[in-house]
């Protein structure tokens, strides 16, 4: 329990964070910005895990362990995504998603 902060407040924060991420992901066309939005969503979830773990079953630490995993995974994923973006840039000299739409019907 964190003094003076209820679960509702923390959940509100993560929800806002998550939807900002979704908004950014859907609206930005720059791949780097989309990647950043993705990170926002992932972080919102990581906070959720910690908070819910703390408020529902403080005796065990599964939620916190999960958030550690999420952080590690997010780092790996970012590295991969950046590599892809870099490669795409080398191929097309663009990182604008609107310009790269080869994979359509």
């Amino acid at each position: 329990m964190i003094e003076g902060v209820s679960l509702f407040e923390i959940m509100s924060l993560t929800t806002i964070l998550f939807f900002i991420g979704i908004y950014g992901f859907l609206t930005r066309t720059n791949l780097i910005a989309m990647l950043m939005s993705l990170e926002l969503m992932v972080n919102a979830e990581a906070i959720n895990f910690v908070a819910i773990n703390k408020y529902l079953s403080p005796a065990v630490l599964q939620g916190q362990v999960f958030s550690l995993f999420i952080i590690a995974l997010a780092a790996a994923e970012t590295a991969l995504a950046l590599a892809i973006i870099l490669h795409l840039y080398r191929l097309t000299t663009k990182i604008d998603i609107k310009e790269v739409e080869e994979l359509k019907y």
């Binding site: 992901f25 859907l26 989309m34 998603i97 609107k98 739409e101 994979l103 359509k104 019907y105």
Partner: protein, 648 residues
Amino acid sequence: MDAFSYTYLIPLIPLLGFLFLGFTAKKIKEPVSGYIGTAGLLTVFGLSLYTAYKYFFELGLTDDKYQTVKIAIKNAWLHFSDKLAIDLGILIDPISVMMLIVVSTVSLMVHIYSLGYMHSDTGFSRFYAYLSLFTFSMLGLVLSSNLFMIYIFWELVGVSSFLLIGFYFEKPSAVAASKKAFIVTRFADMFFLIGILMVGYFGQSFDFETLNNPTTYETIQNWIANHQIFSFMGLSMFTWALILIYIGGMGKSAMFPLHIWLPDAMEGPTPVSALIHAATMVVAGVYLVARLFPLYYHIQGGVALQVVAVVGAFSALFAAIIALTQEDIKRVLAFSTMSQIGYMMLALGVSGFEGHEGLGYMAGMFHLFTHAMFKALLFLTAGAIIHAVHSNFMKDMGGLHKYMPVSSIVFLVAALAISGIPPFAGFFSKDEILTAAFEYNKLLWFIGFLVAGMTAFYMFRLYFRIFFNKQTDYGDHKPHEAPVSMLIALVFLAAMTVISGFIPFSTFVSADKIPFHSHIHWGDPLVIGSILMAAFGIGMAYLMYFKETAYPQKVASAMGSGYKWAKNKFYFDELYIFITHKIIFDKISKPIAWFDRRVIDGFMNLLGVTVEKTAERIKFIQTGRMQDYAMFFVSGVIAIVMLIIFFR
């Protein structure tokens, strides 16, 4: 028994020969491949003679009876149930030993003959490879120890017959003939297979030794008596099984109405006609009935055997009538073969079982033996004539006696033998058939008697028209006597034709395997009658054909449409074409094809087209823009969450 364990070599040697010649057909040239094939056959011939000597004289009689020797190569090769299994084995008994002699003798002679006949043919090595394949299959067929093995080899001889009829595959008529032979015999084999399965189901065995055991057929008889319900048209299922097996034999032996392939099979090289379509393969049906003879005789009072007799007698008469009118010498011989096989079937059909009553069985086997010799001789001589004249038709021949004296004499020997003039081989066997038929049924005897006269007539019609009659002008290309290799085979077979009638056959082959003695009663009216009948046929032929006369024309026109029908083989080919094309193809196959194309395929195409059209409509969703996909995904998730929240 161990003493006979070498017999597996007899079919194995031609098989190895086939594999060797088949793989090296391109590399080994004439005449080496012929020598290899002939050497293999010579070994087989020696082994067969040795086996015969060993079986009949060394092993001899045990308890006054020839014992059946079975050599198991593999027990329970195919295991169906505890009682029903198929073994691989070799069966040696009087008839299989007799067939070994027939097959190896004729095959060896054909191998030697073909060295000359197939000279400078491009397919020389291929021809010898096929001959070896056929010899292997035929020897396997005679040595088979159970119905399934015989079926396997039955199909193998069918295949080799197909390959050899279609040997000149650049000739459309040869291709058509080989297909016809294959399809007709396969059609009959379908019934054969059903018969085999029924025998296996109702008799609980495929093994000849078990099936021909008295206890087995007594068990089957009891079973039939207790299970009247398993019958169709008054005949029990087992009788039907035997009749179905006989239909298989009818297909291979060219019995009416499945005879249509045999005349066309003459498209193959002449040695092939001699080997396969005269001496060995076509008598497989006779051999099959003889193999299962105790069953045919005992089950339900021998109803199936009566079918054999009637079909045989009818085919003999039918083919003899057609043979009277044919112009192609090979076709005359083909119909003659069919007629003589009808004789053998008749002999088996009228036979009893024990002691002297089994005369018909013995006579049928005897006729098979002698017929193989003289008919092979007739075909090989015909081959020599065709080789010299380059035509199959009698109108292109005539006066050949002075050009080909040896061929003329051996042909005369064979023609006398088939006509039944003593002392040639055919007389003894044919006379015993007629005696057996006379004791059984006067009508069947009369048919046989009539056919004997007709046989003499058409054979001498052939002989006189080829070797005497008009003096055809052959121009610069004078006919010449056949090369030595061909003459060796001809003279050997002629010698066999002369002496084989004196073999005391009844002391070797009989239905119950107990030897008995049969003599020709020279004073018997039956014997004198059949000799007179043959002499009458020969005399008629002499009058009409020795010199060029107007009689044949007059007789033909006096017969009117009868002559025309016989000449066109009673329009059976046309009838079959009508049935297959107009009825089966048009009335059954075409509606089925229409249903398949329009309804079944139509439904499948409809499915395909629907999917394609739908996809065409909705493919715009696939924009290739990641955010669109994400948008769909997010809105989907939101929609599901909403549903869960509001409609829980």
